[in-house]
Point group: D2
Amino acid sequence: MTLPEMQDLIARGPYLNWLGLEVLALDEDSIEVRAKWREEWVASTRLMQTHGGILAALIDFAADFALVCRIGHGVPTIDLRVDYHRLAKPGDLVAKGRVIKFGRQFSTCEAQVTQDGALIASGRGTYITAPLPGKPPGA
Amino acid sequence: MTLPEMQDLIARGPYLNWLGLEVLALDEDSIEVRAKWREEWVASTRLMQTHGGILAALIDFAADFALVCRIGHGVPTIDLRVDYHRLAKPGDLVAKGRVIKFGRQFSTCEAQVTQDGALIASGRGTYITAPLPGKPPGA
Amino acid sequence: MTLPEMQDLIARGPYLNWLGLEVLALDEDSIEVRAKWREEWVASTRLMQTHGGILAALIDFAADFALVCRIGHGVPTIDLRVDYHRLAKPGDLVAKGRVIKFGRQFSTCEAQVTQDGALIASGRGTYITAPLPGKPPGA
Amino acid sequence: MTLPEMQDLIARGPYLNWLGLEVLALDEDSIEVRAKWREEWVASTRLMQTHGGILAALIDFAADFALVCRIGHGVPTIDLRVDYHRLAKPGDLVAKGRVIKFGRQFSTCEAQVTQDGALIASGRGTYITAPLPGKPPGA
């Protein structure tokens, strides 16, 4: 899959569109995207930090789409772990995902979110990489 | 904290507002909210399922705000685990959170998301319940 | 599966034997066992607390074997989360496991470990409940 | 802390002794140990695989002790995630731990377990790195 094809795939998902994802890099086992900050991401107007749910979405996306070059589409998430390291300030975020172990039934990937080079959140998820009868990809 | 006070607290957070949260029930150790579906939640237009990042946000919110009656405000999330059980269809979701163990330094809570009574996702998180010098609540 | 059959199944596993597990209760979706304390469990001789790896093993066992009545044997663990709530003192522990969501491909279960009624640790795991070609159960 | 000092610290813990840990490498942010296989680790005599609870203990140990050079002793585990990638055969295991984010209140570390170079399990944990009044280290 080429970078424009990946960008096109992302554009077809309403929530991914809302996250404002721009693909920065892509290879067989990893992906890197920039997410464009929006006011709706703010958890509290006093601190102006981006909500943890946005960071979780970026971790899930990057871990999931690290598998896309092998699979051809997003795959269902089995479960997700996110660790929060620092508050994110208003501004874009960069998310990188990487395959830890690719398996025929399920696969494990990790991801991290940074802002201006500082580690904001990191985590890992398990994804279904077996063809599931009656359960289509993209969860 | 009363239910209207909790509703008012939620209204002050832009992202929680965007999630369309309506408080259904509240007591010292738990909270239940309804989240109003919006088109931006859709992961893929073919399946129309709600994206896992929205479900993660609801798990984090409900687990975190199960602590609010004791603490008086949202607290920083240390880490989060989410298990995905079923695809959610277009429509509102209900999230319930409950304290598993309250501690002076950090606390563990669990939460689940349902749709029309079916379990969509569940999970747990660890939250800072110690006063943190220089690190304010609400992450 | 009857309680003596379950006790017999456990007796065939060297590590489960070493944990000194006695089945207290069993039904289609849950299991409860007592684990017999041994000196090798101690993390530090100053505090005499049971090591977190023992607690993790009990969480994994109880979550996994909550599925045994449906499946007939232990199943491979995909991943595990454990939250540590209190130090365990020298003495036996009780572990309870329960199915959260049973699926044809994989299932999610939760478990807790108590000592004299106090919550020591809790957690959840994802387990393979599909027949895996070439990957036998019991991991 | 020197490698012999670390080996001596490990020798004082009964459970760590039982795991047969030999320190292979050590620096400010990481640790690598070999764990000596024993028959009691076996989950099922048919497959002879090492039980997931042993792998979880090694992940927890390596993640925790990646902090030891900074802290001077083991620290309490808040929570742990373990992903299981392959069955381990009878034989020694190597565990490596690394600090992801060091914080004054709590820290996140990751670890992996390999056998003959193959990835068996990986995971991450959160650890208390603040001095806890009345709650001593070593959980």
